[in-house]
């Protein structure tokens, strides 16, 4: 085992790229909130960056990647970064320092928790969100991460494919978001009152940062500066482009080509290609991207407009449904020429079934455990702000600040 300077440089840069996705997400979500909640929405992502940045190094990494316990969770051998140093790990990414692998994984844990916040903005109590985030990383993210990526994890043993986190990050976050929405209830005034996004250019800037950072997310998941990284990089860009374009066309058919729709589509395309990026040929990004925007668009119509769930910033529709499609699409389009795994198109129908098992297992686990954690947090500190605080807006009621202050310019 010797360290490759090229691989190490790429993974450290990729880690920084993935970190930047979280402030990008903060702008993406923040622009969609109402004016009185923009600061609190941004704060949620930023605070998660700080909180999970600590939880991960103390026990999160160890529970995810420590010595396997029954295929279910990692042990405490990496607790507090014990045995995690400048030399490569004996198990993971043998050409880069173990610390580089650990911090790359840290950024995934951060953004996964931050993704959930979009579903509960404008009404969740900040202290409840902090408590929930620490519990969720520990009891949901770490086990699921271990199942899929940990050495000895039961889903990876089954042959489930997840290149960069379609199940670990997106299905996990999307389904957990839905469970939390069900516990928390709708925002007052939803549906009916107009809930106008305060700054769509901010949403577009955030989406741009997500797209940029996603190259670290997907191409970095090759864990080496190699041909596979380049292939995943290209597949990622193609899928985002195809999905953004498709959502634009759908909105155009209904009315006008929408900016909010186009950037949402691009993010959905990035979600869908995430599990597939290193298993499919780059051009498979086109069908994967086109389909995810159709699924995402109509998921919002059904979930929000018809069923009335106030998944405020459509986390389940974009990340949950997009992640499910991505996982299944990996089983359909996987090409043995890329990473050795074959999918349905190459005659290996059983891969789709394996993917489906992964989807169902992670979705069920995430939903149930999130529900339990949500109930616990509600009993401990109360999940929701009071009526007056919600009316005033979370910026002032939770943080004593406002985004756009001052009469003088």
């Amino acid at each position: 085992m010797s360290i490759s300077s090229g691989d190490t440089a790429w993974i450290l840069i990729s880690s920084a790229l993935v970190l930047l996705m979280t402030p990008g997400l903060a702008l993406f979500y923040g622009g969609m909130a109402r004016r009185k909640n923009v600061l609190s929405t941004i704060m949620m992502s930023f605070a998660v960056m700080c909180l999970v940045g600590i939880v991960w190094v103390v026990w999160g990494y160890s529970l995810s990647f420590g010595d396997d316990i029954g295929g279910f969770i990692g042990g405490f051998n990496f607790f507090g970064l014990g045995n995690v140093g400048m030399e490569p790990s004996g198990t993971y990414a043998s050409s880069i320092p173990h610390l580089a692998f650990m911090i790359f994984q840290c950024m995934f844990a951060i953004i996964t928790v931050a993704l959930i916040t979009g579903a509960v903005v404008e009404r969740i109590k900040f202290s409840a969100l902090m408590l929930f985030s620490a519990l969720w990383v520990t009891f949901v993210y770490a086990p699921v991460c271990h199942w899929v990526w940990g050495d000895g994890g039961w889903l990876s043993g089954l042959g489930a494919l997840d290149f960069a986190g379609g199940t670990v990050v997106h299905i996990n976050a999307g389904v957990s978001a839905l469970a939390l929405v069900m516990l928390l209830g709708r925002r007052r005034g939803f549906p009916g009152e107009s809930m106008e996004p305060n700054n769509i250019p901010m949403v577009a800037l955030g989406a741009g940062l997500l797209w940029f950072g996603w190259f670290g997310f997907n191409a970095g998941s090759s864990l080496a500066a190699d041909g596979l990284a380049a292939s995943a990089f290209v597949a990622t860009n193609i899928s985002a482009a195809a999905a953004g374009f498709t959502w634009m066309i759908i909105s155009w058919l209904h009315r006008r080509p929408s900016l909010l729709g186009t950037v949402t589509g691009a993010v959905a395309g990035l979600v869908a290609i995430t599990p597939a990026a290193g298993f499919v040929t780059p051009l498979a990004g086109i069908p994967i991207g086109i389909v995810v925007s159709v699924i995402g668009y109509y998921s919002i119509v059904v979930l929000k407009n018809k069923l009335g769930f106030d998944d405020s910033l459509d986390v389940f529709a974009v990340h949950g449904m997009g992640g499910i499609w991505g996982a299944l699409a990996t089983g359909i389009f996987a090409s043995s020429a890329v990473s050795g795994a074959s999918g349905l198109i190459e005659g290996n129908a059983s891969q789709v079934l394996t993917q489906l098992i992964g989807v169902v297992a992670v979705a069920a686990f995430a939903f149930v455990v999130t529900w339990i954690l949500g109930k616990l947090v509600d009993a401990a500190v109360g999940l929701r702000v009071g009526q007056a605080e919600e009316g005033l807006g979370l910026d002032i009621s939770q943080h004593g600040e406002r985004a756009y202050g001052g009469l003088l310019r």
Binding site: E196, S258, K304
Partner: protein, 112 residues
């Protein structure tokens, strides 16, 4: 003395301002306002579907004029703010008790 408050379309401001200037009415205050009349509102797009915005952005022009100047000023505003479509706005005229120029302390007609 009368105060004229005119709610107009944003895109008509320059024309209205120019017409008032041509009639030697330079002083005015303009502010951004939201409101509705018979136009009621418009719908905008969310990621999927639409939502209704029932208060629309308009501009409010306020100016104080001598009683005898009211018809000329109103005529200048109406001619230039009108498009003929719903949403052209409204003008109200209010009596003014007194006016003071802050710099000099001038009162009433001398302060207009």
């Amino acid at each position: 003395m009368k105060k004229i408050e005119a709610i107009i379309r944003q895109e008509r401001l320059d024309a209205v301002k120019k017409a008032l200037e041509e009639n030697s009415y330079f002083g005015m205050t303009v502010s951004e306002v939201s409101g509705r009349g018979r136009q009621k509102g418009i719908s905008l797009q969310w990621r999927a579907g639409e939502y209704r915005v029932d208060l629309l952005p308009k501009l409010k022009i306020e100016l104080v004029v001598l009683d005898e100047d009211v018809p000329v000023a109103i005529d200048a505003i109406v001619r230039n703010a009108r498009t003929g479509d719903i949403g052209d706005g409204k003008i109200v005229v209010l009596p003014v008790e007194s006016v003071v120029r802050v710099r000099t302390g001038d009162r009433n007609e001398n302060a207009i």
